[in-house]
């Protein structure tokens, strides 16, 4: 009896421990995949931004006697050890590369690196240390949980934080003037996902009217779904069934796929992480439900070059609406090839975003009254970074909440074993194929 109780307590501990671990992983993957912005948010946001913009402009004007910003120290907080180290170190390296690239006469940029270890508390302590050591601004952090802590710290310490990767809507707010995000947030991801899906139908001449939505049951999947749902009704798409699964425990989705098959939707929409995404694609290939396409919305597998390699038979034709570096731009190609030369690994989108975050701060520093955190934040609020490295339709500018007003995902498709950008047209590397499912000959 005593042993049974021990076992029970132990199992409970194990469960708690593993859930904790999963949470961190989840956030990160969430971050890898996620995001964009709703039109509505952007609009109201920009209206407010005008107000605050003019307010900060006046303030900045008051301090304008300062000599401007010449020596900029940026604190880079990423997971450099632990399960997320691969992306974290890439992002840190990209930040350093950006500092080197963007240092000019009159503005020297240095990066101070810190390891969040994937833990919110450690990330916060490390960021605090960097600020005490003289960091004028922060970039980071790849995980929503860590970024949330840093956002609070940034406001308290009056040091701007430019988020490279973190998807949670709640991190930014109009009340926090020190936090800015380049990538689209969860809401934007869902909204654009629905719009792109409607566009797919229009392009084929036969509208997409019904979908079944499979998603991970974490806050990531549910928040993207909620945004998708809101926009779906606007574009005439009906969600026949929502199927949730636990992305960290799932080992089989055949039964779920039979439920999809039973509904016979036009399209199967999927939101989730890497492993479950591969499982869903492979199971779909076995069950072969009568759908016209499988479309990921912020899906963590379907936009990665590794996906067609891992699931060669089950990946062809699968779409993903996700943020992505702009493969069509020469400057991006140059940065990525130089990065690969120096680091050996292909530069991932997360690392491109870290580079972009440093560029945002560097550009703002050129216009700031001083390198002082408050001055920098005011300058970032008003900054306009033309030619973004990601597939955004316009320059990077921030609304009152600190969200990038032009944050937008791009639709990608697996074609001949590679992930290529297919929509919107200005970012298309190849023509999209629709309908398309892996089991089509």
């Amino acid at each position: 009896m005593r042993r049974t109780r021990f076992l029970a307590v132990g199992a409970a501990l194990l469960l708690v421990a593993s859930c904790g671990g999963d949470g961190t992983d989840g956030e990160s993957e969430t971050a890898t995949d996620a995001a964009s912005e709703t039109g509505a948010t952007t609009e109201s946001g920009s209206a407010a931004a005008t107000e605050s913009g003019s307010a900060t402009a006046t303030e900045t004007g008051g301090d304008a006697t300062a000599a401007g910003c010449t020596e900029l120290n940026i604190g880079s907080v990423h997971p450099l050890t632990g399960g997320l180290a691969l992306d974290g170190t890439q992002m840190d390296d990209a930040a350093k590369m950006a500092a080197e690239d963007l240092s000019v006469d009159g503005l020297s940029i240095t990066i101070s690196s810190a390891d969040s270890q994937g833990e919110p508390e450690i990330g916060q302590t490390e960021a605090q240390r960097l600020i005490q050591d003289g960091a004028n601004a922060l970039v980071g952090t790849y995980q929503s949980a860590v970024t949330t802590n840093l956002a609070t710290l940034a406001q308290r310490e009056q040091v701007p934080l430019v988020i490279d990767v973190a998807v949670d809507d709640a991190i930014t707010s109009p009340d926090n003037d020190f936090v800015f995000r380049i990538q689209p947030n969860a809401t934007a991801m869902g909204t654009f996902g629905a719009q792109y899906l409607a566009a797919l139908g229009e392009a084929s001449g036969e509208p997409v009217e019904t979908v079944v939505y499979m998603h991970d049951e974490t806050s990531f999947g549910t928040s993207v779904l909620a945004a998708f749902k809101a926009e779906a009704s606007n574009v005439g798409i009906e969600i026949l069934e929502e199927i949730a699964y636990n992305p960290f425990e799932v080992q089989d989705v055949t039964t779920e796929m039979q439920r999809v098959a039973a509904q016979e939707p036009d399209v199967l929409v999927v939101t989730g992480y890497y492993n479950d995404g591969v499982l869903v694609a492979e199971t779909a290939n076995s069950v072969q439900p009568n759908v016209r396409a499988i479309v990921g919305v912020a899906q963590g597998a379907y936009d990665l070059p590794q996906f067609p390699t891992d699931a060669p038979d089950a990946s062809t034709g699968i779409f993903d609406s996700n943020y992505h570096f702009d493969a069509t731009k020469e400057r991006v190609q140059d940065i990525r090839s130089r990065f690969e030369e120096a680091n050996g690994d292909a530069m991932r989108t997360a690392a491109v975003l870290a580079y972009q975050a440093v560029e945002v701060i560097a550009t703002a520093a050129g216009q700031a009254a001083s390198c002082d955190g408050a001055d920098l934040a005011a300058a970032i609020q008003d900054v306009e970074v033309a030619e973004p490295l990601l597939t955004f339709p316009g320059p990077i500018t921030f609304d009152d909440s600190g969200e990038n007003e032009n944050a937008q995902p791009v639709l990608m498709q697996v074609q001949e074993g590679e992930v290529v950008q297919v929509y919107p047209e200005e970012f298309a590397e190849a023509e999209l194929t629709f309908p398309a499912v892996p089991w089509q000959e």
Partner: protein, 341 residues
Amino acid sequence: MSRTEATQTLRTRLDIPRWSWGVVVAVLVVVWRWAEVSELAASGPGRTIALQALLTGLLIGGVYGLVAMGLSLIFGVLEIINFAHGAFLTLAMYVTWLIATTTGIDPYLTLLITPVIMFVVGAAVQRVVISPAMGQPLENQLLLTFALAILIENALLLVFAANPRSVRIPWASAAIGPLDFPLRLGGAIIELPRILAFLGGLVIAGGLFAFLNRTRTGTAIRAVGLNPTGAALVGVPVGRIQVMTFGIGTAVAAAAGVLVLPFLTLEPTTGAQFNILSFVIVVLGGLGNVGGALVGGLLIGLTQELGGLLFPGQSKLLPVFIIFIATLFLKPEGLFGGGAE
């Protein structure tokens, strides 16, 4: 005699066997979720879904059972609650992945290699790490294996990073004789690797039973499980048997790891999900009851899949944990009672 005695005894309370509560709960659930049940039963697609859930649950349950058997064996003989069981499983999967990708051999062939390697690893761990802690309070051993799990997971992270990896068999979707894989059975789909994992699990379980019941070493292992002091008195080398048992338990987990690799994606934390389920299964089947673990595995597999149908939108593990808690309350010795205890 006992029958007449029973009639003569004055029975002051109604003696309901506790398992009947299980039946009551099952009936209540069906009534409660009648909408879902009738929907599944009424339409053709609904029946396909139900059949799929049944088959999937059974197939995945066989693998769960195999993993849990290793855990149960170690507990039954060593009285060690091995939290590192899932980590050993992950380690075995990495070993298989390494062998399969570097040599290019079929991953199933590593069934002859990986369990042997993991037997040695398990035996060494018992010899070096666990055995000094034997006889210490349970919580010490618990923390020790917990630390071992963290150590293995992070070592794997260090070496292989968190990149997801996978091994796929090219002949998984092909015609083999008259059978065309993936197999279609009344609309339900069965993928070949899952069938192989299930059958492989049953064969290995059968082998383990035969070994425990038919061989001298097996008898010695059971003897140590029943009474280590007694076994030592009749000349069984208890220490060596314990080392061997830990090795076998680990090898069984390793075999399970090889069997699931062709349909799962591998990460340093992959084994953790099996760990939690294994504990539920071991409690369900009875601590140290190896056969109970196999049946418990099948039950949990079915509960997970059918529960997912009856409670859509919830984690599939919810019904599993309800059963876990119910077992602890109603039948703490497990459905089939403790084994070696």
